[in-house]
Structures are given as structure tokens and as C-alpha cells.
């Protein structure tokens, strides 16, 4: 859980200085995209608004022409009316030009307006041209329609055969006359059949059957599908809110969103706090304290206890104190038995790779098992097997610690266990960071080999987000670490808590040369803030 939240930063720490173009690219591309979207949206809206304004002016002019206002107009009103009329004239002239009015004629009309100061005559001319053109177009379209109708009729006549004689019985006929009429009709039919070719009859039968089938299908669709859908749609439409109702709703949303916007920043921490407090009360062993690094979580400790054999084997193989591996496992398996653990893991498996791809432009697998190790890190540490296997988890934790501790040559036992506390989180603190600490340029290591952890932690600031999208994650980590550096001092804090808890158990022994004083020193370092009294080993 802890590894996955800081893995990407850790990987970046181990790499050379990032390419400035690459590091600025997400933010710049976001800005460019936002700018392009805003400009395009704005342009489209502007066009729509202009059309709407044009329509409104035209409607108002029409209204005004219908009912003349007798009150005198102010200069402002006159100017506005003139501007509107000119706008209308320009739009009409443009339309006329689109319909074929020559540039010279358009220029002449414009010059007339400029010279005389009146728009009416030129507007009338432009409108007349448009009306004339529209009439011409309509006439052309009507002629074309007629021509097409005639062609269609010709085709239809060619396809249809001569109509079959009727077999109807005269309506007024009595029984005998009706039978006679039927016979006569059959005889006429048979004569007609004899006069037409068998191909024509067959074609006629096919077309009639096809027509009947088409009618049947169309009627069926109309009755069973189209009509019910239309009825339902009309019912739904009648139930949908009207424009006025939407406006009222919009206003209500605006009014309601103001107090919500003010109270939400206050309400959210209260809700989250209440949730954690409830979990605290329900589950007993203080998950809230474990979350903020103020105490241990019993589930992590229990998982370490349950896998003692695997941890001790890994310790022997890698020459790492088993209690250090167990503490690391306890930190990484915090809240390991909560009912939502599987759910949370499933979410992390889905969300983490996508987030990493978006934020860091590289695919990083989520982490698994008691040590929360990712497949990438397993490859880096040269470990094979299933990360969910406790033996593999213990080996991974031992290797994480071993690599970092081995980088600290001539270091004391205290320094080594402090390094182990930070290294248990994997890629957030590695051998590279240890080499930085030992670099004489920084002066953290004194000539006798001991490391001045007070000054090192003073130099460790809270993490800063690398991109806009990274803000939320980093803010959450910093909140959790109470302003300390999440990858170093906070990791030492949670590690020391679990180390102390395991040391109180008879099953685990502290490394040689380490006792209560050293544990207190670690606690002091882990909880120290810049400006506090320096911790003494």
C-alpha cells in the first residue's frame, strides 16, 4: 500500500535530471488544449449569439413595422435603430451577393447608403433582388419536379401490366343473376388470361404478392412498434420539464451551490474524520493512529507474526535481522484484514497503472503481497516467484533492506536500522539515497563514520507535486505525514512504531547492540520537527 503510493517518485529519484521538455509537456499540453477548446467553444457560441441577435432584431423590426410607435425617439434610440437597420442591410446585401448579385452593384448600393444616409431604398433593392432570385429558383425547382414526376410515371406505366377484368357481382343482382354475372366474369377473365402471356401473369402475381407482403409488414410495424414507441415518447415528452421549469431549476441549482461551495471544504474533512473515527471505534486497535504514524496497526503485526518462519529464513539468507524484515512487513501490511482490503486492492490494480501512465508517462504495475512489491521492483531486485507468496514477500523485504544497508559502509548499528526503516518502503528510499547521505558534499557523516540524522531530516522537506494532476495525491501524503517527508522521516516513524511493538513480543529479538536507548533515539528522530531540540544517540 505504501509502496504503490510513492513508487513513481522513487524511480524518478534514481534517474538523472529529467528532460525539461518532457517534464513540462503535460502542463503545457493541458494549457494548449484548454486554450484551443476555449477559443473554439467561444467562436461557436459567438456565431450562434450573432445569429440570435440578428433574428431578434429582424423580429423587432417586423413588430415595429406592424405597429408604429408615436412617441419621439431619443438620439441613443435613433442611433441604435440605425445601427440595427445597417446590420440588417449588410446581412441582406451579403445574402444577395451569395445569390449572385455582382460586386459592382453591391458597392453601388453601399455607396448610396453612405451618400444619402438612408437605408430603405438600398435595402429594398437588395431585398427585391433576393425575392426575384428566390422566385427564379423556385420556378426552376418546380420545373425539375414536374420533369421527374413525368419520368417516374413513365417508368411506372412500363412496369405495370394492363389491369385484370373485375370479378365483382353487380350490387342489385338477385341469386340467379349473381351466378350468371359471376360466370360471365370468369369467362371474361379466362379470355383475358389467354390474351396475356404466361410471363406477364407470373410477374403480375409476384408483384401483387410482394405488394401485399410489404403492406402487411408495414402495417405490423406500424401497429406493434412505431405507434407504441410514438405514444411512449409523447408521454415522456409531456412529463419532461418545460423551459420555465428548467430555468427555475437552474436558478435553484445556482442558489443551492453557493452555500454548498462554502460548506463543502469544511464538511469534507468532518465527514472523512467521522468515518475514520467510526472505524477507530468499531475496529478497536486505532487505525486512525496507524494512518498518521502515531501508533501500530495490530493486523500488520499479526501478519508478521503469522509468517515468522518465512521471515526468519529470509533474514538468515540475506544477513538481515529478522525483526527488521518483520517490522517492514508489518508496515506494508497495515489494515491487511479489513473487509475492504480486497476491494481496495482491486481498485488499486485498476487505477494505479492508469494514473502512473497519465502522470509519469510510464506503465508501472501495482504492488502485491505482504511486502507490497511490484513486478518491476521484483525484476530490479532479481527475485522470482509469486509476490503474493509470503516467502517471496519476506525475501523481497530482506533484499530491499540489505541493498540499502550494504551501501552504508562503516556505519553503526543504529544508522543501519534507521536506514532499514526508510528502505522498507522500496523505491522511495534506496541505496542511491544512502550514497547521497554519505556524500561529503552534504556533510551529514562525521569523520568517525556516524551520521548526523538531525541535520539530514531537517533538510528533508515535504514532497512537492510534479504536475498539476499529481497535486491531490501528494497533498494527501503530506497531510498523512504531518508535513514531514513521506519517503524518509514518516517511513522511519511507522517502522519504529512496529519495531517497538515487535520488540515487546518474546518471539522477536532486537539486533545485537540495540536496546531501549536506541529505540528511544529512533522515536525521537522520527517525531522530531525542524527547530526542535536535537536527538542524542
Amino acid at each position: 500500500m505504501l509502496v504503490s503510493s510513492s513508487s513513481a517518485d522513487g524511480i524518478r529519484n534514481n534517474q538523472p535530471a529529467p528532460d525539461p521538455i518532457q517534464s513540462n509537456l503535460p502542463l503545457v499540453s493541458a494549457a494548449v488544449a484548454a486554450m484551443a477548446a476555449a477559443a473554439a467553444y467561444e467562436a461557436e457560441r459567438k456565431q450562434e449569439a450573432e445569429e440570435a441577435a440578428h433574428l431578434a432584431i429582424a423580429q423587432r423590426n417586423a413588430k415595429r413595422n406592424g405597429k408604429k410607435n408615436t412617441t419621439p425617439m431619443s438620439y441613443r434610440q435613433i442611433a441604435k435603430a440605425y445601427a440595427a437597420a445597417k446590420y440588417n442591410f449588410n446581412a441582406t446585401l451579403n445574402k444577395a451577393q451569395e445569390m449572385g448579385l455582382g460586386d459592382e452593384d453591391a458597392a453601388k448600393l453601399k455607396a448610396d447608403v453612405a451618400k444619402s444616409g438612408t437605408i430603405g431604398a438600398s435595402l429594398g433593392a437588395a431585398q427585391g433582388y433576393i425575392v426575384q432570385k428566390q422566385a427564379e429558383q423556385e420556378a426552376q425547382a418546380a420545373a425539375k419536379r414536374q420533369q421527374m414526376e413525368a419520368q417516374r410515371a413513365e417508368k411506372k406505366e412500363a412496369l405495370l401490366e394492363p389491369p385484370a377484368p373485375s370479378m365483382q357481382v353487380p350490387p342489385q343482382a338477385d341469386g340467379y343473376e349473381a351466378v350468371e354475372a359471376l360466370r360471365a366474369s370468369r369467362a371474361a377473365n379466362s379470355q383475358a388470361s389467354a390474351s396475356t402471356s404466361p410471363w406477364q401473369s407470373a410477374w403480375s402475381a409476384i408483384t401483387t404478392t410482394a405488394q401485399r407482403m410489404q403492406d402487411g409488414v408495414s402495417n405490423f410495424a406500424q401497429e406493434k412498434a412505431i405507434q407504441p414507441i410514438q405514444t411512449s415518447w409523447n408521454t415522456l415528452k409531456s412529463l419532461a420539464p418545460t423551459r420555465d421549469q428548467w430555468e427555475q431549476m437552474g436558478l435553484r441549482i445556482i442558489v443551492a451551490s453557493v452555500p454548498l461551495a462554502i460548506t463543502l471544504p469544511l464538511a469534507l474533512p468532518v465527514l472523512v474524520g467521522s468515518g475514520l473515527l467510526l472505524a477507530d471505534v468499531h475496529y478497536g486497535p486505532k487505525p486512525l493512529d496507524a494512518f498518521f504514524g502515531r501508533g501500530t496497526d495490530s493486523r500488520g503485526i499479526r501478519l508478521a507474526q503469522e509468517n515468522m518462519q518465512a521471515i526468519q529464513n529470509a533474514g538468515l539468507q540475506n544477513n538481515v535481522p529478522p525483526i527488521a524484515i518483520a517490522s517492514g512487513i508489518a508496515v506494508q501490511s497495515q489494515w491487511g484484514e479489513y473487509p475492504w482490503d480486497d476491494f481496495e486492492q482491486a481498485i488499486a490494480d485498476t487505477v494505479n497503472p492508469v494514473t502512473n501512465l497519465l502522470l509519469h508517462k510510464e506503465y508501472i504495475h501495482p504492488s502485491y503481497g505482504l511486502a507490497r512489491i511490484s513486478p518491476d521492483e521484483m525484476k530490479m531486485l532479481d527475485i522470482n516467484g509469486n509476490p503474493n507468496d509470503p516467502a517471496v514477500s519476506a525475501e523481497a523485504m530482506a533484499k530491499r533492506i540489505e541493498l540499502a544497508v550494504n551501501a552504508c559502509r562503516n556505519c553503526s548499528a543504529d544508522d543501519k536500522i534507521i536506514i532499514a526503516g526508510m528502505a522498507q518502503n522500496g523505491v522511495g528510499f534506496t541505496a542511491m539515497n544512502v550514497k547521497d547521505i554519505l556524500n561529503p558534499k552534504y556533510g551529514y557523516q562525521s569523520p568517525d563514520g556516524t551520521i548526523n540524522w538531525n541535520s539530514y531530516f531537517d533538510s528533508q522537506k515535504a514532497k512537492s507535486p510534479k504536475s498539476l494532476l499529481d497535486q491531490l495525491r501528494i497533498r494527501l501524503l503530506n497531510w498523512r505525514a504531518s508535513g514531514q517527508n513521506y519517503d524518509t522521516q514518516f517511513q522511519l516513524r511507522v517502522f519504529t512504531n512496529d519495531l517497538q511493538a515487535l520488540a515487546n513480543s518474546p518471539d522477536w529479538n532486537l539486533p545485537q547492540g540495540m536496546g531501549e536507548t536506541e529505540l528511544n533515539y529512533m522515536q525521537c528522530l522520527a517525531n522530531r520537527h525542524p527547530g526542535d531540540v536535537a536527538c542524542q544517540p
Binding site: D19, P20, I21, Q22, N24, L25, P26, L27, V28, S29, A30, A31, V32, A33, A34, M35, A36, A37, A38, A39, A40, Y41, E42, A43, E44, R45, K46, A49, A52, A53, A56, K80, R243, W246, E247, G250, L251, I253, I254, L357, L358, K361, E362, L469
Partner: protein, 137 residues
């Protein structure tokens, strides 16, 4: 002042885009600041223009106050939707393109062109979905 700014905004935004691209390729130190300024200025100016246009429309007595608020609310919401979609798409594009193309001059320019097109596409998508829906109301 605002009217001039509004009138010249397309030109100004193109100039700002050029500055931003130049900062990405040449003046790395100002790239972040310029990006944040653009992220604030672009949407901010668009919102100002929307409010101004609707209030002018209202003052010309073409719409009443309720309709003006209604229009502003839905237009601003649509704008923010378009911007959010554009940012999301641009991040996906950057996430996919950088490992494939690297961060050379040509690949950066290609990515920027793609991002501009994605921004335009996002605005169009919002127009044909959100815009059509709000227009129907």
C-alpha cells in the same frame, strides 16, 4: 479596454500560444508559469466574454434577467466541460505519445498540433452534445 481586448482576443491567444510553445522549446524556466497563466487566462477570458455578451444582449432587451442567468450558467458550464475534456484528452495524448515519440523538436510539435486538434474536437463534441441539449431546453 475590455472591448478592445475582446475584439483582439483571437490574435492575443495565438500570440500567447506561440510564446508558450517557444517557452517549452527554448525558455524552459518560464514554461510552467506561462502554462498556468494560459490555464487561467484562456478560460477566464472566455467566461468574461460570455458574461459580457449575455449582459449586452439583456441590456438591449432581447432577453430578460432570468434568461440571461440561464444562458450564462449553461454556457459557462459547457465551456468548463469542453476545457475539462480537452485537458483530459491532452493528458492521455501526452501519456501515450511521449513514450512512443520521445521529446525531440519534431515530436513535440506533432504533439502540440495533436493537442490543439483535440481541444477543437472537445469543443465540437461539447457543442453537439451539451450545446444541442441546452438549446433544446
Amino acid at each position: 479596454m475590455l472591448t478592445v481586448l475582446e475584439k483582439r482576443w483571437p490574435l492575443i491567444s495565438i500570440l500567447l500560444l506561440i510564446v508558450l510553445l517557444a517557452s517549452l522549446l527554448i525558455w524552459h524556466s518560464i514554461a510552467r508559469t506561462a502554462s498556468i497563466a494560459m490555464l487561467v487566462l484562456g478560460p477566464g477570458m472566455a467566461i468574461v466574454i460570455i458574461i459580457r455578451r449575455q449582459s449586452q444582449f439583456h441590456r438591449a432587451s432581447n432577453i430578460d434577467r432570468t434568461a440571461m442567468l440561464h444562458h450564462i450558467f449553461f454556457e459557462v458550464l459547457g465551456l468548463l466541460l469542453a476545457i475539462a475534456l480537452a485537458i483530459l484528452l491532452s493528458q492521455v495524448a501526452a501519456g501515450v505519445a511521449v513514450p512512443l515519440l520521445g521529446s525531440g523538436l519534431v515530436s513535440t510539435v506533432i504533439l502540440m498540433i495533436a493537442v490543439v486538434l483535440l481541444g477543437l474536437g472537445a469543443a465540437w463534441l461539447v457543442k453537439v452534445t451539451w450545446g444541442r441539449w441546452t438549446k433544446a431546453q
